[in-house]
């Protein structure tokens, strides 16, 4: 959908002769692109305005590092600025003081509160806590039912709320029942509501006063547009929220709302929701979010996924190699194995940087059969060949083709893709963002 910002900036900087230093004039057009990229990513207009000003101030006069192009240098600054804005540290749940602790989830209709409540319960359960779910949504048809069913799935008790009672009554009642359930963390799922609905906002204030929760988490949809600032501001003003959870992050939204919300509330983003399954809840990493907003994918997340899903040691090795630019066909082979294990290709692709670059590789078709072929070809190579692709001459190619049951053209194509990939990766890895996407060719 979008060309990577780095590409655009590189094009702009190409017209500038003499590298050296970033100046007021040579960053002007580039900053225009940065601005548009941020707006395209749904960062709020005013937030963008301030941000671009800050970046300009930081960029002008800076020397361009030897290893970087001016475009990359600017991206680096932009990236740093965004990560800084989104908070450098990671935050977990704040569960201090006397038990039971209460968490309250609030947000607009359809933002994902109920699913998130169950996800948090599961997480706490895994940490050895005893969560207790409280459905306080008496408005949406079957909302209580939904939480009861989710609780059942993860074997977490759910308060059997009576929807003819007021939400604050339900919460108070549940609180007194919690100790009998031996619960130490209460998770309150509130009804979705508009930030401008005074009556319903007052209801939340009431619940807060009665229950005194340690955490009030705003659950916001990562796809939210410009209005995210108004929503977050109102919820924060009324409730003094303690943090934010961004949902539906696994799609292709650039997630500029994260930046907007952080900018207006200055409250930490604690978790992200990355799927409909109950285990699809992850910690939030500001630097990854920064590159996603800029349209630069998220290789670090990919590496982490590979790590948790498969062989951790292998993945570490791979990560190191990527950083050191020592990527060879053996790594390529290893990657393919891991990719096959990960399964859903579209999910992986979503995390790839330089989608624009990928599209330029004309043989790029990431389908399962192709992967099998690639793997067979690499398997037929000798160890030396895999470590140094340059020795693979004509006769070796014929041998490999025969061994893998493919055509020589297939072998040629794989090798060509591999070298292209290596090049792209080297370019990206200077900004710390290697590109693994084109490995699929």
């Amino acid at each position: 959908m979008f060309e990577s910002l780095t590409e655009k900036l590189n094009t702009i900087f190409k017209t500038i002769t003499g590298r050296g230093r970033l100046t007021e004039t040579n960053v002007r057009d580039a900053l225009k692109e940065v601005r548009l990229a941020l707006l395209e990513a749904d960062v709020n207009y005013k937030v963008v305005k301030n941000l671009v000003e800050d970046i300009r101030r930081r960029a002008v006069g800076r020397e361009v590092l030897e290893s970087l192009t001016p475009g990359q240098q600017l991206i680096k600054i932009v990236n740093e600025e965004l990560s800084r804005l989104m908070g450098g540290v990671r935050y977990g749940l704040e569960l201090s003081g006397r038990t039971p602790h209460s968490l309250m989830l609030v947000g607009l209709q359809g933002s994902g509160k109920t699913t998130t409540a169950a996800k948090l319960a599961r997480l706490l359960l895994k940490q050895g806590r005893h969560p207790y779910l409280i459905p306080a949504d008496i408005y949406r048809p079957a909302a209580v039912d939904q939480l009861i069913k989710l609780g059942h799935q993860i074997e977490v008790p759910v308060y059997p709320a009576d929807t003819t009672k007021q939400p604050e009554e339900i919460c108070l009642d549940a609180l007194s029942k919690a100790s009998r359930e031996l619960a130490d963390v209460l998770i309150i799922d509130t009804a979705g509501r508009l930030h401008v609905d005074k009556e319903l906002m007052a209801e939340l204030v009431e619940i807060k006063a009665k229950i005194n929760p340690v955490e009030i988490l705003l659950v916001a949809d990562a796809m939210t547009g410009q209005d995210a600032v108004n929503v977050a501001k109102r919820f924060d003003e009324s409730l003094d929220i303690t943090g934010v959870i961004l949902t539906k992050m696994e799609g292709d939204a650039r997630g500029g709302a994260a930046l907007s919300i952080k900018a207006v509330t200055d409250k930490p983003i604690k978790f992200i929701g990355v799927g409909e399954k109950i285990d699809a809840l992850e910690p939030f990493y500001p630097d990854r979010m920064a590159s996603q907003i800029l349209g630069m994918g998220d290789v670090l997340s990919l590496i982490e996924k590979v790590q948790t899903d498969f062989d951790e040691k292998e993945a570490k090795k791979l990560e190191k190699k990527l950083r050191k630019k020592q990527f060879d066909l053996e790594d390529f082979q290893l990657q393919l194995k891991q990719i096959k294990k990960i399964g859903s290709l579209d999910q992986i692709l979503g995390m790839m940087p330089g989608v624009g670059e990928l599209k330029k590789l004309k043989q790029f078709k990431p389908d399962g059969r192709e992967l099998v072929k690639v793997e067979a070809i690499i398997n037929s190579m000798t160890r030396n060949e895999r470590r140094n692709y340059k020795i693979i001459n004509g006769s070796r190619r014929r041998r490999i083709a025969k061994g893998s049951g493919c055509k020589v053209q297939d072998v040629n194509r794989i090798l060509k893709n591999f070298t292209q990939t290596k090049k792209i990766m080297e370019r990206f890895s200077r900004t710390g963002l290697p590109n693994m996407g084109s490995l699929f060719g």
Binding site: M1, L36, L39, E40, A41, D42, N44, Y45, L108, Q109, G110, S111, G112, Y139, R140, P141, A142, A143, D145, Q146, L147, I148, K149, L150, Q153, L194, H195, V196, D197, K198, D221, M223, T224, G225, Q226, D227, A228, N230, V231, K248, E250, G251, D252, A253, R254, G256, A257, E276, S344, D346, G350
Partner: protein, 322 residues
């Protein structure tokens, strides 16, 4: 920037369906007007000249309404060109030019699609990402058809989300429509197949199919939708006659990606824009109409049964600039 008139919202929620259409539409658009339009009006008020500042403010209004980069740039560029060529001098004319330009995006032809054969039900498939308001829109739309004297059936093809079937069931009771359902976890295509069989034998006029929310980036889930679509056509040739994509007005630029992907997968016939009762300006409508040319059928302006209003491009823009 904020939605100031709480009363307006109340009025809308309590509006009785008998009030005349224009009035209701105007009420429905009050939010949009108090934001985008009110701001435009304030912006133009008392201005004698078109200055760069004015253009920048204009740009801000368009951007903060979620109109999006490409569309905003096109609108501003065209205004700027006219100013340069001295075709446009006074701010009041600028307003009209802008209005007409936005209107030209919004006025799209109906997407051609099949109609049911006489005696057969109109089958509508409702799709969209998670939580946008599919089930609620189905409830509200069912009510509208029932008020027109139609016999309506709801088909619970969201067999994935916990209690989704129950939720649709409650809407069915509320509006007095038959609901065809199976257990959570059942094959949604099978539910649709059985639903259409039942609809034919019970001589239903309108069938609304509720599907599970899914992100458009999930290939397997998109294939599942395509399968539901195919199976419907197998049971009743021509079905589903309409495919409605539900979009949440608070969504930003991703709505365009959603509309594109769902359109490629299934061929959309209509768009419904929900949650316009918040402070979101609904500007994505403009960008989507411009790029995809799919007509917007309804707007959702609340959670109540009659909070669904027809969308009319001319009225919409009129309301913006009045």
């Amino acid at each position: 920037m904020f939605f100031k008139k709480k009363d307006t919202e109340k009025d809308i929620k309590n509006a009785d369906p008998g009030t005349n259409l224009v009035q209701r539409l105007q009420q429905g658009l009050a939010m949009t007007r108090s934001t985008l339009t009110g701001r435009l009006d304030r912006l133009f008020f008392g201005k004698k000249e078109i200055t760069d500042d004015l253009l920048e403010e204009l740009e801000e209004i368009l951007f903060t309404s979620d109109i999006g980069v490409a569309t905003t740039q096109e609108l501003i560029d065209s205004v700027q060109k006219k100013v340069e060529r001295k075709e446009l001098k006074d701010p009041e004319k600028l307003k009209f030019a802008l209005r007409d330009h936005i209107l030209s995006f919004l006025e799209v032809q109906a997407v051609s699609h099949l109609s049911p054969e006489p005696g057969e039900p109109l089958v509508i498939m409702v799709i969209g990402v998670n939580g946008v308001g599919k089930t609620t829109t189905i409830g509200k739309a069912a009510q509208r058809y029932i008020l027109q004297g139609k016999k309506v059936m709801l088909v619970a093809a969201d067999t994935f989300r916990a209690a989704a079937v129950e939720q649709l069931g409650i809407w069915g009771e509320r509006v007095g429509a038959d609901v065809v359902k199976q257990k959570t976890g059942a094959d949604p295509s099978a539910v649709v197949f059985d639903g259409l069989a039942a609809a034919i034998s019970r001589e239903i006029d309108v069938v609304l199919i509720d599907t599970a929310g899914r992100l458009h980036t999930k290939i397997n889930l998109m294939e599942e939708l395509a399968k539901i679509h195919r199976v419907a056509g197998r049971k009743l040739p021509g079905a589903p006659h309409e495919v409605w994509l539900i979009l949440d007005a608070t969504t930003g630029q991703n709505a365009i990606s959603q509309a594109e992907t769902f359109n490629n997968a299934l061929g959309l016939t209509h768009i419904v824009l929900t949650k316009l009762d918040g402070t979101a300006k609904g500007g994505i409508v403009v960008g989507i109409s411009r790029q995809l040319k799919i007509p917007i059928k309804y707007i959702g302006i609340g959670e109540k049964i009659d909070d669904l209003r027809p969308f009319n491009a001319r009225d919409f823009v009129q309301a913006i600039f009045d």
